[in-house]
Assembly symmetry: C2
Homo-oligomer: 414 residues x 2
């Protein structure tokens, strides 16, 4: 696998602009426009179009309350083939009753007509405020504008990534190349996050494209595995939205199939790397965040146990607030591990903040407060919980909880 560059600057000999995102893979064009769904005048509608039919897979919110576009797109994913993806921001089209459903269907029809795709091959996504009707005249205008601007160049992927933002402060993209036996294939992607981000079920919008040719069933399994290890391990505030989805489209435009077991491994690693990069960008850009927090759990009784414990720590308001305050309050970390719902022996657990060990065998350790403080003053903190009672490992991404989170969310609607 050859890594290309993304957000924070990982490099290799091949360095496409990461900003290309969904247009990095061949045979995909994209656009992002402003059609008036956001009062701010910022871009609020994106289209991604594959040159031909693409195999697709998706994971969706587990919320009982689901937005109309989620219901629509779940059906498209069940059939497993898509060519076009239309996304609006600024309005979630959730809790809008029959009109909401009709609007989602109409979005598929309009985007299908604009891209010469049958509506049943059009994926639809919405993000924004819940319970307000979607102004369909503006959506229709937006789709026409986006149609005129569709481009396979990096600028198309970039514009699309900007158009799906809500309270995000920057677009989130990643891209890389994977060496398969039959040649190189590309994977690119974009995501939006910021608030209402929580483990368990596609808890944000993420759209990945690849020009590899893949089997539908393999893709569905690989995608489930990838999202479980990445987007489902990302938490900003513990709320699981009504609209979340993570979609992958594979159009085969590279002319290279994922065939051997080695190919599958390389491709899975590529998907994991792209999605980790997006997950990390989402956590770093969490609403009001000043620090990225990574939580690593090792030596846990099983992978699922490790994930539960990592997520429990990553979701604790008290842990996140302590990191914001640059306070090495490891007791809160240990406490959050303890209520994860996973039985374990607390007397074997060591805890580290970056390289500074703060607890040993479940008890306080006299540590250098100045060193711990220096670690916590960085804009990225790694919490490691080494449990020494199994083989389970997991990594979770989150951010600190700050005054600005409160400010952003105290009056989101208005």
């Amino acid at each position: 696998m050859v890594l290309c560059r993304w957000g924070d600057g990982m490099m290799s000999e091949i360095t496409p602009p990461a900003a290309a995102g969904v247009t990095y893979a061949r045979g995909f064009s994209a656009a992002g426009v402003h059609c008036g769904l956001k009062k701010t005048g910022r871009p609020d509608l994106a289209i991604i179009k594959s040159a031909g039919p693409a195999v697709c897979a998706g994971v969706f919110t587990t919320n009982v309350v689901v937005a109309a576009p989620v219901i629509w797109s779940r059906e498209v994913v069940k059939r497993g083939v898509a060519r076009t993806l239309v996304i609006n921001s600024g309005n979630a089209n959730a809790c809008n009753g029959v009109k909401g459903w009709q609007d989602a269907v109409q979005m598929a029809e309009l985007a299908g007509a604009a891209t010469e795709t049958p509506p049943e091959e059009v994926l639809v996504a919405s993000t924004g405020v819940i319970g307000q009707p979607l102004p369909m005249d503006r959506v229709a205008q937006g789709i026409e504008m986006a149609k005129a601007q569709l481009t396979a160049s990096a600028s198309g992927g970039q514009a699309a990534a900007e158009a799906i933002m809500t309270t995000d402060t920057r677009p989130k993209t990643a891209a890389l190349t994977v060496e398969l036996a039959g040649g190189r294939v590309r994977i690119g992607g974009m995501a939006k996050g910021s608030g209402m981000i929580h483990p368990n079920m596609a808890t944000m919008l993420a759209f990945i494209t690849t020009d590899a040719a893949v089997e539908k069933d393999w893709l569905a399994a690989a995608w489930r595995e990838t999202t479980n290890a990445t987007f489902n391990m990302t938490s900003v505030d513990g709320d699981t939205s009504t609209n979340d989805m993570a979609i992958i489209m594979a159009n085969g435009a590279a002319g290279t199939r994922v065939e051997s077991h080695r190919d599958q491994e390389a491709m899975t690693a590529g998907l994991f790397t792209v999605c980790s990069a997006l997950a990390e960008q989402i956590a770093r850009d969490g609403e009001g965040a000043t620090k990225l927090i990574k939580v690593k759990v090792t030596g846990a009784p099983g992978v699922e146990g490790a994930r539960k414990i990592a997520r429990s720590i990553a979701t604790s308001n008290l842990v996140k607030t302590a990191i914001y305050g640059e306070d090495a309050n490891w007791g809160r970390i240990f406490c959050a591990a303890g209520y994860a719902g996973v039985p374990f022996d607390p007397d074997k657990v060591d805890i580290y903040l970056n390289e500074v060990q703060v607890a040993a065998a479940g008890s306080a350790l006299p540590f250098d407060e100045a060193r711990a403080k220096a670690v916590l003053q960085g804009d990225e903190v790694l919490i490691t919980v080494a449990m020494h009672q199994g083989e389970g490992e997991a990594l979770a991404w989150t951010c600190d909880l700050t005054d600005d989170y409160i400010k952003i969310n105290a009056s989101y609607r208005t």
Copy 2:
């Protein structure tokens, strides 16, 4: 049942000062003193003493990481008889290894010696910072001081309620009288809460006393039922502490037994009322809180479903922040109901903020924003989710999430 007065002023013909708390019931004395565990000079050690052996019941944190005093007190509760309760604040005596355990045992021995009680009938509780050794010389001094100040008057209960506070801004007490067939009995109690308060397992410290004579098994069952409906329905920040416990001691000093089914019902109602009053005080005094939020769920599929949904809403950072911002963002309420893990039909759900209906049949309702705003400007907000699909009802207590929560918790240790 005759209600007496507590915090917010419910009255009846019998009006003892609610502040009496644990000394309202006959045969209990209490004291609260400062022995140097808190740097602030505030009271930090309390003793409650029953004149004779009392039947006791308790529920404890479900955290895998449990403080030493919890381990000790669980054993006392298993035996079912206690006379003395010693509590310190300012230090949780959690994650202190073997020394922590030895200190908890020594606290029982010291308090037992001071009150002429065998150590195995002494309950021990601690609350405060995790992972710092308990300065036992100060604890010993504190126990001696408290011994000298034990009194059955209201001032004893009051002093004890003050001595168990950590970031609480005010002491929390409640008291009432229950009419049984054989005469009147009294129930009083005190609690501390503020942060690290979350549903499921005695998620705070609460100590209730009664002079009724009861059967051990009946008390254990009634106490489980009461805490499930009250303290376990109270959330401040979603974190379940290592130290939480809710204890009841019944010493029979009134000379009146709980015998008939009617007596049991009256007594259960009395326990529920005292504990609800304390739960509400805890939520209202949540760290940084400006508003008490009550979440009422009706018509849910079963009581457990209703409780899960009420707790999910009461725990949502986004809901709590919206109420702080006085923003009628009902979509967040609906969304939090949807991820509670309870299957339901969203299209039957109505949502109210006090008396203002904001959603009907799962969809937006044009409502008067000015009226909703006026409701949200109060210092108490009732969210009602009327589900119309069963008989399950539940009530949860929480508070808004504010800038001050962040400030309080960003540097708790320092």
